[in-house]
């Protein structure tokens, strides 16, 4: 039912929105720094370490640089869509944080189909890439955009299907209930996480998640050796930064969903005084997401890009059958047990 909020509830909701939005934006800015530092570490070079102690002020310097850069628009571009594309890209990316539960109480909205809502919102994100590539009216962006739309459609299928097994076990579409269904332990020490029941689904989900966010080794949409920078070749300044932030926001969303569905969300050992116990669920959640992001960055730094036909074969002939087989086996066990 749609209820009317009292002014006190509204204030609490507003505070939560500010907290989550501010936290996410700050975290995104520092994820870019973290990625550059970790990649530099893997490749045995120092990385950005000059601005502030350990380069900690680098994201702020980058933001300022993006703001003051010249705003270029290609002469043959479709101006309306050229300006709309970065906005279309970043709004869905940030919107999906509205239903992610960061802790038992730290969530903006709690609806009973929140998982599907995130899939719906993120599936709209592809339009930002497609429109950006098309509106630039130049070769490489168009090729990048076409690659990306085919890739995201193909991998969205296995991403969504890999989740079905988890949903059959948990019997809910709500992210909060998904986390609650993974509370407790087996035999006192194995946490009741879905990754133990659904290892195949987990692998399929993580792989298609990397492809869905256009990250290496699946970043065919912007592969810089072939397409300059792919779909955002013609973008500069803050418009480029919006695309960039959207990619990182999508990474965090995919990692957060993986944490919620397979790694027990905010569940974790609770200890310490009351104020620590209140903060611990959010800390566990953020730590698990950070683990995923770390894997993302290691993968980017170490694994080379695959060819486009290999990408399509992998998506349609390996991941999709695996996800379908996983659904079959899981539904058999759910029906029998």
């Amino acid at each position: 039912m749609i209820e009317y909020l009292s002014s006190r509830d509204f204030l609490i909701l507003f505070a939560k929105m500010i907290t989550i939005f501010g936290g996410v934006m700050g975290a995104l800015a520092y994820t870019t720094l973290l990625e550059r530092r970790i990649m530099a570490f893997v490749q045995m070079r120092p990385g950005p370490n000059r601005v502030g102690p350990f380069g900690l002020l680098q994201p702020i310097a980058d933001g300022l640089k993006f703001l003051f850069k010249e705003q270029t628009v290609p002469g043959t571009a479709n101006v309306l869509l050229y300006y709309a594309a970065p906005i279309v890209s970043i709004i869905p990316a940030l919107l999906s944080f509205s239903v992610i539960p960061f802790g038992p109480d730290l969530k903006i909205a709690d609806i009973n189909v929140s998982l599907l809502l995130i899939f719906a919102i993120t599936s709209l994100g592809v339009y930002g890439i497609v429109l950006g590539g098309w509106a630039s009216n130049s070769k490489y962006p168009l090729m990048g955009a076409m690659r990306s739309s085919a890739q995201m459609l193909s991998y969205e299928l296995s991403l969504t299907l890999s989740v079905v097994g988890v949903l059959m076990i948990a019997n809910t579409l709500s992210l909060t209930d998904l986390v609650k269904s993974q509370q407790g332990t087996w035999f006192g020490f194995i946490p009741k996480w879905n990754i133990i029941l659904q290892p195949v689904a987990f692998i399929v989900y993580v792989l298609s998640g990397i492809a869905e966010t256009n990250r290496l080794p699946f970043d065919l949409a912007e592969s810089e050796q072939e397409l300059v920078a792919g779909w955002h070749t013609e973008y500069s300044g803050m418009k480029f930064a919006m695309f960039f932030l959207a990619e990182y926001a999508n990474m965090v969303t995919v990692s957060a969903l993986a944490t919620i569905m397979f790694l027990g969300g905010w569940n974790g050992p609770a200890f310490g005084p009351w104020w620590l116990q209140m903060a611990l669920p959010t800390i566990w959640f953020v730590l698990k997401i950070s683990g995923f992001l770390f894997v993302y960055m290691l993968v980017r730094a170490t694994i080379p890009r695959i060819r486009y036909d290999q990408l399509m074969h992998f998506g349609w002939k390996v991941l999709l059958p695996l996800a379908l087989a996983n659904i079959l086996v899981t539904s058999f066990f759910v029906a029998v047990l």
């Binding site: 809502l117 719906a120 919102i121 590539g133 098309w134 168009l142 955009a145 076409m146």
Partner: protein
């Protein structure tokens, strides 16, 4: 509040629906169609059918329309030009069609009983799944058969020598 939101999203839906028709460029038409689908999803949410709203966006706006836009980009279709009046006489057919549609709309609006209580939980995934596999099982299975046939047809078209 809800009435205000309804008016807002209905206006967006109607505006983008008209825009689909009047735009000369195919890409603008399909973008308006995406806007129309999302506005209709918002209307579903106002009727507390969250599941339908979300599925509507996933299937149509998130998958089918991406294919449309993809094909338009691939062919790089130019904007339609004026002066093609191949369909001059078909336009006259529009007048009785509009009258018929208006008649249907008016009849439907008159028939609605406003005092009837909204069925509880009608929009949840569980309720929709249950009704799909009980009351509407035959249409559901026939639709899936239809989609399977279309799928096989597409494969036959794509593969020259099977």
């Amino acid at each position: 509040m809800i009435e205000l939101l309804f008016v807002l999203f209905a206006a967006v839906a109607l505006g983008s629906a008209i825009n689909v028709l009047v735009q000369k460029h195919v890409l603008y038409s399909s973008l308006s169609l995406i806007l129309l689908l999302t506005a209709i999803s918002a209307l579903f949410v106002l009727m507390q059918a969250e599941f339908l709203a979300v599925i509507n966006v996933i299937v149509y706006a998130g998958a089918i329309m991406v294919l449309f836009v993809f094909v338009i980009m691939l062919l790089n279709l130019p904007a339609d030009e004026d002066g093609v009046d191949r369909l001059r006489w078909l336009k006259l057919l529009g007048i009785p069609m509009v009258l018929f549609l208006l008649f249907m709309v008016v009849r439907t609006v008159w028939k609605v009983e406003t005092d009837a209580p909204a069925p509880q939980l009608a929009g949840t995934a569980q309720a929709i799944g249950a009704s799909l596999f009980t009351d509407y099982l035959l249409p559901f299975e026939l639709t899936s058969l239809l989609i399977l046939i279309a799928l096989m047809g597409a494969v036959v078209f794509a593969k020259k020598d099977l």
